[in-house]
Amino acid sequence: MRLGSVMKGGILGIGFAAGTWFGGWLAIPILAFLWGLATKAAPFVAGLTAGTAWGVLLLMDWGSGALGRLVGRLGGTFHVPGFTLVLVTLLFAAGLAWAAARLGSAIGAWRRN
């Protein structure tokens, strides 16, 4: 992957994290859609980046041990292993971003044609 793509991915990741932080979860599909619309990058990059961005936001609280306790208790609440919920969270963001980017990309391509 070229440096430029990595940087673009990094900027998108920061955008996803900042968008979520300040605007909420809908920032993910909106930013991903715009990303797809504006670039020719593969949609899976958006998915991967969104999952990573949410993962980083989750890990911000790892140090206190509170997240570990929360993962365990939430898993118990929903009768699933705790890590499943973490996985669902990351996949939810990744799925939203991939699908929105893919649609954005398709519309962008259609407009360019």
């Binding site: 206190s64 306790r69 118990g76 969270t89 939203l96 699908a99």
Partner: protein, 803 residues
Amino acid sequence: MTRRSAGNLTALVLLAVLLILGRFRLGPVPPLGHFLDPAHGVWAVAAGAELPDSAAGGVPNLSEPVRVLFDDRGVPHIFAQTRLDAIRALGYVVARDRLFQLEIQAKAGAGRLTELLGPRLLPLDRETRRLGLPDAAELKFEAAKRAPAGVEALNAYAAGVNAWIDHLRPSDVPLEYHLLGRRPARWRPIDAIHLTNRMGYTLSFNGDDLTHEEAAAAVGRAAADALFPVNSPIQEPIQPNGSGAPRFDFTRLPPPGRGEGDLLSGAFREESDAIGSNNWAVMPWRTANHRTLLAGDPHLQLTLPSIWYEVHIVVPDSLDVYGVTIPGLPFIILGFNRDVAWSFTNTESDVLDRYVETVDDSTRPERYLVDGAWRPLRIRFDNYYGPDKSVLATDTLRFTHRGPLSLVGGRWMSTRWTALESPMQPGLLLEAAAAASVAEWQRAMARYAVPAQNMIVADRDGHIAIRSTGRFPIRPGDGRGDLLRDGSTSAADWLGDWPLESYPAANDPKQGYLASANQQPIDPRISPRYLGSNWYAPWRALRINQLLRADSAATPETMMRYQTDPGSPRADLFVPAFVAAGRKADDPGPRKAAELLAGWDRRYTRENTRAVLFEAAMDELSRRTWDELGAGPRPSSAILAQLLADSSSAWWDDHWTTPVERRDAILRAALGAALSKTVSSLGEPDGERWRWDRNRHANIYHLLRIPALSALGLPIEGGISTVNPSSGGGEEGASWRMVVELGPEVRAWGTYPGGQSGNPASSRYLDRLPRWLEGTLDTLRVPRSETDLRGHVRSVLTLESAR
């Protein structure tokens, strides 16, 4: 369709599905978008789980900034310049740690749980409203508003709670709201009254009259009077009677007779013997270091988070009080200051009467008859709302001049109950908290009304006192409240309240100590006046008195040990009877069971392997003895003990069999059946499965009863009627244990099951549980100033006045 088109279609469908799942609740699954959002959703709860090193907040109308130092046990020490500032800060810190608990408890008292939890809570809300609790709260609040001093504390507390709510960050929203998909509601001053009413319900609602009626319908009034008596057959009263030993008033029980009255099947049930609270105080001349000692351990339903929140409040020259408060109430309930310590047990007095009313319409009454004239019922229509504000149901609530009217067993009955009438009194405990002596403390609490409590208090000068304090009604006629009353005559109405000087009480007794454990407060030979009936069996009281009488050099350590003492006067009384009868049995089963019990030290330790057999035998004995009562209420084990002294009583006879059984035959049958059942469920007696801690557990449920947020199956010491009693379901227990030594410097120890934080992700959610299970207490830090706490401060909160 090309691969690209198929991919685009897949993306479109996936996006639509994820957006729908993200935006809308599907059954029990909350909207996933907000829920999973790591910055605003459920994961953010982790960020708010631990106390920050420092924080700042704003609370309206603070006269001066307030500093709150959280110590290494998570206890806030509030340093304020005025009492009202301290109350505002208390509201703020309680909301910070227990916001969901505040709302759910208040909604439970207000009969509005459906608004938070949905329609499945409708039956509970209906029950609350039909009892008249929310209606009474509204009337009390209106009355309180007429005396502004009364609501000042409630308003200040609400300001503190709402200051926290108004500035909630995503990480401050409790987990439960994320699970429910709701937002916290603002706190209203009246919510404190709803909460107090709920406590009044827990501690003073009783069905003695219904129990008596049901028993009379099965075995006649004379037998019902004896089985559910006004006076306990074992006297070890709270107010010492001077005898220095328990007295056993074991008279012959009248035989079962013909049923009288209408059957009120299952109208009311309450579990006796299984739960209860303790407190005691020892004068300096009976303690090792000649300082006054006080111990208290109220037993209540155990929940996560705990019903209690530990706090220390310092207001210069005004207040320096440490103890536990109930989230939602603007004062410390049980605790101590530098001079005085206090603790409560429930008085178990009868402060509720039911009146059988004559109404004009058996289905939709509008009037009721009193002294030959019809009076209009007060009628209100109540709506129950769902979380989405939709109306779930509407009820018509009716009230006579006595209280709420409801159908019980096909009869319209109104309920008069002190809990519905007595005002909220936030000022009393605040005033008492500043007392410098037992006398001052008792003066401050003299007007206390509901729920009636056995209030023990001790001071640094060596004085101790106890008083059963509360509003006790004076009834007409024989004064009894354990019988249904005729509502058609005003002559059945209460005549007034007991004067303070008649309350059961004792100060600085000759015996050098005082104790209470929910037993009958006063020896009927000293005061025959009706205070209640069907008292808790006094086994815990017997054991506490036994321990304190034998200890002439008490220490804080012995006090702590006594709080979890596994000894059982109940087992001491019944086991010898079982053993004597069983050893004479022809059958091997009862003989073997008798030998097994004979080898038991009668202590409910974790490792003992005989208590399971004894409890099974007691259950069998009770079931077989009281067979005439059918599925109705069973008398307490104190009555069974009384019956034990009469080997030929007609009660021993199994009325389903032709031969006439006597005591020993029933004891043997109970033993045989108990052994057989225990072996069948737990295997042979020598196995580990007979261990008490394999069979008796504490189960501390989260307020939403979510197992993953609860602490379940905790092995414990203690059993039915030990000083540290445990119930079958394990949901009740010592909700707070405290020992205080009042010397030149106050020293105190305490703990409760759970932790200060209501956040299940917090290290402070369950941190106190291991020591509670061990029966050990933490040393409480009682700094006079902020500097005294140096080296033990975990977090500092500064509150300033905000608009």
